[in-house]
């Protein structure tokens, strides 16, 4: 027999290599290995995996992570309801379509040994839930995903529990960080823009205030939309802007002065710091915009103060030097007059010795008007002495008596004086000016020398009536002086100051805000305002108005010293402030601030 038929025969009679009755064992072993592998995979999973009975939510199986989350060993976890693992789920049922409520079990579980994996479509939906799970350390946040499965005619629910504590914590930290930076952003006293692709994408509260626009208006505007077409220093706005933005984007931080516009169209000066940062891979710019209007004004005031102080010193020195020759002249003129006067023994004796008749000499003097000339000299001297005395006042500290004064009362007295002043009465028609009083009740007293303050207020009234006399009033408008007395917290030129920075003084107090004015760091001032509706003054005049000898009046009318003296009385003698604002052609307003007497707290 051939080898081949030998083999065939061997196989036929069951003696071939593979002639063993078929066993499922090898196949089962392979499947078991797969299951073991699968089990090992499940066990190594970081997510908790639980298998539940669909109707009762009884735990049938669970992996290591699930046991860890539940804090129970496998033996204790299986055979118990899901709520035993996750107490928060007590009384809860997932709404998986066709789930337990609608599920009517057949007569016993229908098992099909040869259930084809693709024969039955997966039944039921998926439900997710975030729960807080008590744990030994910090509580865990678990995200549960429940899904229904029908296997072999039995319904199961799989539950995947993912520990999302880390993720939530990171998200919370991110939110906190976001809140922190948002707070910094919003609390900044400078306006801040975040700019991308040349447009403002975010802006802080201060920016909204500064530009007078709500956030949704600012965002999506370009910086050029918020600026005048021309920049005072750098020409066309759009060109300058392009250059600045490009340089900053190139990583070169920019710091420059700029003029922006408020929503109402008024320009304001600012300093801008522009630098780049990267957010999610995109280049952004951060613009920090500082309004320097106040700083500029402060600078102006400081310049003026310097000037006033030096001029005051020079004037006082000059006055002192002039005083000696002036008194010599006055003395000599007086002596000249006296030595011509008849009846004086020495004059009579000298005339006798000179064989001159004193009467006739006098007659000659009369004829030549010499007596009037001498009188003129004496008058001029008196006038010069008066000026010199004023000038000396600049340098002299007042030793007048100080008292707590009601400034409203002082103001009324000054008005009374003005009404009775000859000059004002005759030349400026003071009585025809309407006086409007706006005195805030409860205004505190101010510590001051009343005569000096009265003089200042009188000066201001006089100034106002003189200004009013220069204006031709249109129909319907009448001369008016408005007098205001009130309280103000904080010094001008510093945060919390109100009404602009127009005065100077040794102000050291820092005010947090107007609203918290009771803060001891804030100085309380009594504010007096004298406002006329005269012609006002231009800016050139306004900045020089307190300088000695500066006057707009014709020569001989006023010395140009009234406001200078007032300035020194207020700022140097009383530690207060005096300032002036004006709308040319409309009004002019002087404001005096004097420290209030400390009220008992």
């Amino acid at each position: 027999m051939s080898k081949r038929s030998d083999d065939l025969r061997a196989k036929l009679i069951g003696l071939g290599q593979a002639s063993t009755r078929k066993s499922y064992y090898p196949e089962l072993k392979e499947r078991l290995q797969q299951l073991e592998l699968f089990r090992a995979l499940l066990e190594s999973a970081g997510d908790g995996v639980l298998l539940l009975a669909a109707e009762t939510l009884m735990v049938l199986d669970a992996n290591g992570a699930a046991c860890r989350f539940a804090g129970l060993p496998w033996e204790a976890l299986t055979g118990r309801p899901l709520a035993a693992a996750f107490p928060e789920l007590a009384g809860w049922k997932p709404h998986l379509s066709g789930n337990a409520e609608g599920f009517v079990p057949q007569d016993g579980p229908r098992t099909s040994a040869w259930h084809m994996a693709d024969a039955a479509p997966p039944a039921g939906g998926e439900e997710r839930r975030l729960i807080r799970q008590p744990s030994h350390g910090a509580d865990l946040w678990l995200e549960l995903a429940l899904k229904r499965h029908d296997i072999g005619g039995i319904s199961y629910v799989s539950c995947i529990a993912r520990d999302v504590s880390e993720r939530l914590r990171a998200e919370e930290e991110l939110r906190e960080s976001e809140r922190k930076y948002r707070a910094l952003f919003e609390a900044a006293n400078d306006a801040i823009f975040l700019i991308r692709d040349g447009l403002v994408r975010d802006a802080n509260r201060r920016a909204c205030e500064l530009f007078g626009r709500p956030l949704d208006q600012l965002t999506s505007m370009a910086p050029r939309d918020l600026s005048p077409p021309e920049q005072p220093r750098s020409g066309a706005t759009h060109l300058a802007e392009d250059i600045r933005l490009a340089k900053a984007l190139a990583g070169e931080p920019q710091f420059f002065e700029w003029t922006h516009l408020r929503a109402d169209g008024t320009p304001f000066d600012c300093e801008i710091s522009l630098s780049r940062f990267t957010l999610r891979g995109e280049p952004w710019l951060i613009a920090i915009i500082r309004d320097v209007t106040e700083q500029k004004k402060l600078r102006e005031i400081m310049v003026q103060t310097e000037k006033m102080m030096s001029v005051g010193g020079v004037a006082a020195g000059m006055a002192h030097e002039i005083n000696n020759p002036l008194s010599a002249i006055a003395q000599s003129a007086q002596n000249l007059q006296r030595r011509l006067t008849p009846g004086v023994p020495d004059n009579e004796a000298a005339a006798l010795m000179s064989e001159v008749d004193l009467e006739r000499v006098q007659h000659y003097f009369e004829l030549r008007g010499l007596a009037r000339l001498v009188s003129n000299i004496r008058e001029a001297c008196a006038r010069a002495a008066d000026i010199v005395r004023h000038m000396l006042d600049f340098a002299r500290r007042s030793d007048a008596e100080r008292a707590a004064c009601d400034l409203a009362a002082l103001l009324d007295r000054a008005v009374e004086l003005a009404e009775n002043d000859y000059d004002l009465k005759k030349r400026h028609d003071f009585r025809n000016i309407r006086i409007v009083r706006d005195y805030a009740p409860g205004t505190p007293m101010a510590e001051c020398a009343p005569t000096e303050i009265e003089q200042v207020l009188f000066n201001l009234l006089k100034n106002a009536s003189q200004a009013i006399s220069q204006k031709v009033y249109p129909q319907g408008e009448t001369p008016r002086i408005t007098l205001r007395v009130g309280t103000q917290y904080g010094a001008p030129g510093l945060p919390g100051g109100i009404g602009g920075i127009r005065g100077v003084g040794g102000v050291g107090a820092l005010c947090e805000s107007e609203a918290t004015g009771a803060s001891p760091a804030c100085t309380e001032y009594v504010r007096v305002q004298v406002e006329d509706n005269g012609p006002g003054m231009d800016e050139r005049t306004r900045v020089r108005v307190f300088e000695p000898f500066y006057t707009t009046k014709p020569p001989g009318e006023g010395t140009g010293l009234g406001l200078s003296v007032s300035y020194f009385i207020i700022s140097r003698n009383h530690g207060g402030h005096i300032m002036v604002e004006s709308q040319p052609g409309m009004w002019c307003r002087f404001t005096v601030l004097l420290p209030a007497v400390q009220r008992p707290t």
Partner: protein
């Protein structure tokens, strides 16, 4: 009772013939084995059979772990030790090499590793829920026929009884019956196992659960063993005689595994359990007395047995003559095989007989005995064999 009542016939896939043992590796591989527990005993290992089978496994790329801790009348403790080895070695199949003891122990190990718990939990019939790993049996004794049977007899050491674990799950996947493996058996063992096989055949034929199919195997077994046993004992090295003996034993096994046994085994299990007496010798001693006692319950059956054993005029002579002749014949065979001790000489005492009978009454084999026997009758049989 008629011949066509419902009957089932369970048998393993088996290969019979010279060199069948060499197919162990191939069959184990086909059954999916990758690491086998080879269960055997010291005697068989000393004869070289264990290593020979292990070599065929290794030739197929199957790793082997060997467990030799099996004694005659395998004990529950040995089963548990073996299952520990199976688990520890990560085995996935069992190959038994040897006589009834290693094979029954191997079955026990299979039961425990598949079902867990203790082997004694599975006492009784059809009490094994899960099938065991693949089991290949290579018998070397031509007697127990555990290689084809659904029986596993384990000694319960605390209670000192032999428990029967009877289940279709006990039928091995493959039996490789190789007469050549029996060549090394010493004379006494050859005799004892031969008589054991004869007992199997006689009890299966007389069983109240016999069937036409089992009858065929049983009668052929009785006939074959009746001549082959003494041919072997005359010439232990005769391959032909050994093969006939192996075939007879296998036929007996196929018969009794399905027709079940009778009172001889019930009584014998009791002796083995309580006193650890050798199974084959006990069977040989008790068989004539049980046959004589049972004869009246199945005279036609026993006449056939007598005929198969060459008793003259067995089908025609009067019942009592045939019964006595059969009784004498069985006794002769036993003596001729070299056994003539009574129970007393095995160390059994009179006062133990009642207890032995009580235990025998519990044995499942008694349920298929042709005559219903009570404890007193069982004790009488012990007395007769005393």
């Amino acid at each position: 009772m008629n011949d066509y009542e419902l009957r089932k016939f369970v048998a393993p896939e088996f290969v019979f013939g010279y060199g069948a043992a060499g197919l162990a590796g191939r069959h184990a591989r086909n059954l999916g084995a990758s690491r086998c527990l080879v269960v055997s005993d010291q005697g068989v290992a000393a004869a070289g059979h264990t290593e020979a089978v292990a070599r065929t496994l290794r030739d197929e790329g199957i790793a082997c772990a060997t467990f030799l801790g099996v004694s005659e009348n395998p004990r529950d403790t040995e089963v548990m030790q073996g299952s520990e080895v199976f688990r520890a070695e990560g085995c996935d199949a069992i190959v038994a090499v040897g006589g009834g003891s290693p094979m029954d122990c191997a079955k026990g190990i299979g039961i425990v590793v598949a079902n867990g718990g203790h082997i004694l939990n599975y006492e009784g019939v059809d009490a094994i829920p899960k099938p065991m790993p693949p089991l290949v049996c290579v018998p070397t004794t031509a007697g127990s026929s555990a290689d084809v049977s659904q029986f596993a007899i384990i000694r319960d050491t605390p209670r000192r009884v032999k428990i029967a674990i009877v289940s279709k799950a006990n039928v091995p996947d493959v039996a490789l019956v190789d007469p050549l493996t029996t060549l090394t058996k010493p004379r006494e063992l050859t005799a004892a196992t031969g008589l054991d096989a004869l007992t199997h055949a006689v009890e299966a034929y007389a069983s109240n659960a016999h069937s036409p199919v089992t009858d065929m195997f049983a009668l052929e077994a009785i006939r074959g063993i009746g001549t082959a046993l003494f041919d072997v004992l005359d010439d232990l090295g005769s391959r032909d005689a050994r093969a006939r003996m192996a075939l007879g034993s296998m036929n007996a096994g196929l018969a009794f595994s399905n027709a079940i046994l009778g009172a001889v085994h019930a009584l014998s299990h009791s002796l083995g359990g309580l006193l650890d007496l050798p199974h084959g010798e006990c069977n040989a001693l008790l068989l004539p007395f049980v046959v004589r006692r049972n004869y009246v319950a199945a005279p036609q059956r026993y006449r056939r047995v007598a005929e198969a054993l060459g008793v003259a005029d067995a089908l025609a002579a009067p019942d009592d003559e045939v019964r006595d002749a059969l009784f004498a014949r069985l006794g002769d065979m036993r003596r001729r095989a070299g056994f003539d001790k009574g129970l007393a000489q095995y160390g059994v005492t009179r006062d133990q007989l009642a207890e032995l009978a009580r235990l025998a009454l519990e044995d499942p084999c008694l349920s298929t005995n042709p005559a219903p026997l009570d404890a007193r009758e069982l004790e009488e049989l012990y007395v007769e064999a005393f």
